[in-house]
């Protein structure tokens, strides 16, 4: 059957506003989580790479817990587990906290690997010029290691966006939850899931395309490795 013929285009006009509201929430949560994951990754990745006492060990435990448990379980824990000990979070809060923590853990590893890949001789050149440890990090390790970490951290950000769809389980009305609700009412399954898939495709495609541009502009020649 031809999908284009089967597709009822009035689906979009009738449910457009609602879907856009869902999309807006998806983008909102994603933006917060990407910013948060970037920050967590930067700080904890640096702490791991430079073996900062205590922080490094705590970060290692954090990364292991998050990487080795399903994100669905983490969401359930935040939403259903925490109230048991008196911490009740809004669905919105759970939504951005969950993906931020998840993305931060993966990004910690991305940045750690990037920073560790910076040849020591570049840091030494910084020290020799009179840079302290922090100045060397900011001017040598971060710009070089950050570039090395860029492709893998971008994959993490893309996963963060896609993982926001799991907020369906706590009924946070982001894009997927909204679409499933519409589907339940209209039973227009083809229209619902096609729209949903295409929307995610466009978001992620746009992300990776714009990031490829950034990546090219920041690219280091291979002799920097």
């Amino acid at each position: 059957m031809n999908l284009a013929v089967a597709f009822d285009w009035s689906f979009l006009t009738e449910n457009g506003d609602e879907l856009l509201a869902g999309l807006r929430r998806t983008l909102e949560v994603s933006a917060i989580a990407i910013a948060g994951a970037f920050f967590i990754g930067l700080v904890l990745g640096a702490a791991r790479a430079h073996r900062v006492p205590v922080v490094s060990q705590v970060a290692a435990v954090y990364v292991e817990i998050i990487r080795n448990t399903p994100i669905l379980v983490q969401i359930f824990f935040l939403f259903f587990g925490l109230p048991q000990i008196g911490i009740v979070l809004e669905p919105f809060t759970v939504a951005w906290v969950a993906v931020t923590i998840w993305g931060g853990a993966f990004n910690t590893e991305n940045f750690r690997a990037g920073f560790e890949a910076v040849p020591h001789r570049f840091r030494e050149a910084g020290f020799a010029l009179g840079f302290g440890r922090l100045t060397t990090f900011l001017n040598v390790t971060l710009p070089i290691g950050g570039r090395i970490a860029l492709p893998s951290s971008i994959n993490t950000y893309i996963s963060v966006v896609k993982n926001t769809s799991l907020m369906y389980v706590i009924s946070y009305p982001e894009l997927t939850t909204t679409a499933l609700n519409i589907n339940a009412l209209t039973l227009q399954t083809v229209e619902t899931f096609t729209t949903l898939a295409v929307t995610y495709l466009i978001i992620v495609w746009t992300m990776s395309a714009s990031i490829r541009v950034v990546e090219r502009r920041l690219a280091l020649p291979e002799d920097a490795r």
């Binding site: 570049f122 009179g130 840079f131 070089i144 020649p221 920097a224």
Partner: protein
């Protein structure tokens, strides 16, 4: 290529003292009028480093080991201001480590190192301030790959000394011109040849107005045809009166530019003296052996390989 003078560009007008320095370098501002002399054979104007009484660098009983491996075994050495000291020796003899210890890149286990009379290996010393007085150039150039040649030069000046970008770039342009790379200011390291990168690295070290320069086998990673352009820059620097400690395998350069040659082996100084003595008429058997091997004064036919893999 024309080389302007390296040190004729006073620079510290607004910036004294450097960041966080407990011991601001005691250094007279450069005054060309009193220190200029011209060598008719040289296209470079020559200014001597402001000279203070006493030695520039002094090592006293320096011992350094990596684990069980003793790399420096009680080294005593002193270098006068304006002196060019060339350190030669087989690999593993500790010569690179010696330079790295002087720049505090490696901690030492015993002895002490003095810079301009100040003990720099004592506890609580401001390492960053000390390192700004010591320039080092590495075998692998170690230019920051993400920055242009110009930014490689200005980064430390801007970040540590807080020199305004404009002022820093003006001086960087002059230094790049002085190493013959005026046109390459906006190129990234990977766009430059090894020889050009190494000259940028020298200019970068000079940017911090070091009182002494350390060269750690700076031509060893270069194609043979690019060695000369780096050595010329170093020669000019020596003529300008810079105090230099040079680890090299370029014996001809050592002879022409060095004021004194030190031969090291097994973490000790085996022999030292004027280049002509050490390189042409070495007294020690070990020095003679080393020079025979490096200079191939014998034809290859006469050389054999001993059981340890050394050639004789």
């Amino acid at each position: 290529m024309r080389y302007a003078t390296f040190m004729a560009i006073p620079f510290r007008s607004t910036t004294e003292p450097p960041e966080g320095t407990g011991h601001a370098p005691e250094r007279q501002p450069l005054d060309l009028r009193e220190a200029v002399s011209f060598d008719p054979t040289c296209e470079v104007s020559v200014a001597t480093t402001p000279v203070e009484a006493g030695t520039m660098v002094r090592l006293e009983g320096v011992r350094k080991s990596f684990g069980d491996n003793l790399v420096l075994d009680g080294v005593d050495l002193s270098v006068d201001p304006g002196e060019v000291l060339v350190i030669i020796g087989p690999s593993g003899s500790g010569k690179s480590t010696l330079l790295r210890c002087v720049n505090l890149l490696e901690p030492i286990q015993a002895g002490r190192i003095l810079l301009e009379g100040e003990e720099i290996t004592r506890k609580g010393v401001n390492v960053s301030a000390i390192r700004q007085r010591i320039g080092i150039v590495f075998q692998q150039f170690n230019l920051f790959p993400q920055l242009t040649a110009l930014d490689n030069l200005t980064l430390a000046a801007r970040r540590i000394r807080k020199i305004p970008r404009r002022e820093a770039e003006a001086r960087a342009h002059e230094l790049l011109a002085s190493v013959g790379l005026k046109e390459k200011a906006h190129q990234h390291p990977h766009q430059l040849s090894g020889g050009q990168q190494q000259r940028v690295a020298i200019a970068r070290a000079l940017m911090m107005e070091p009182h002494v320069m350390l060269f750690d086998e700076v031509t060893s990673a270069l194609d043979p045809e690019l060695v000369g352009e780096v050595l010329v820059v170093m020669r000019n620097l020596a003529r300008d009166g810079m105090t230099m400690l040079i680890v090299t395998h370029e014996m001809q350069f050592a002879k022409e530019v060095g004021d004194r040659v030190v031969f090291m082996d097994g973490g000790r100084i085996v022999e030292e003296g004027p280049p002509r003595d050490v390189l042409d008429n070495p007294k020690e058997e070990r020095t003679q052996q080393f020079l025979r091997r490096t200079q191939l004064s014998h034809t290859l036919e006469e050389l054999t390989i001993d059981e340890e893999g050394g050639s004789e």
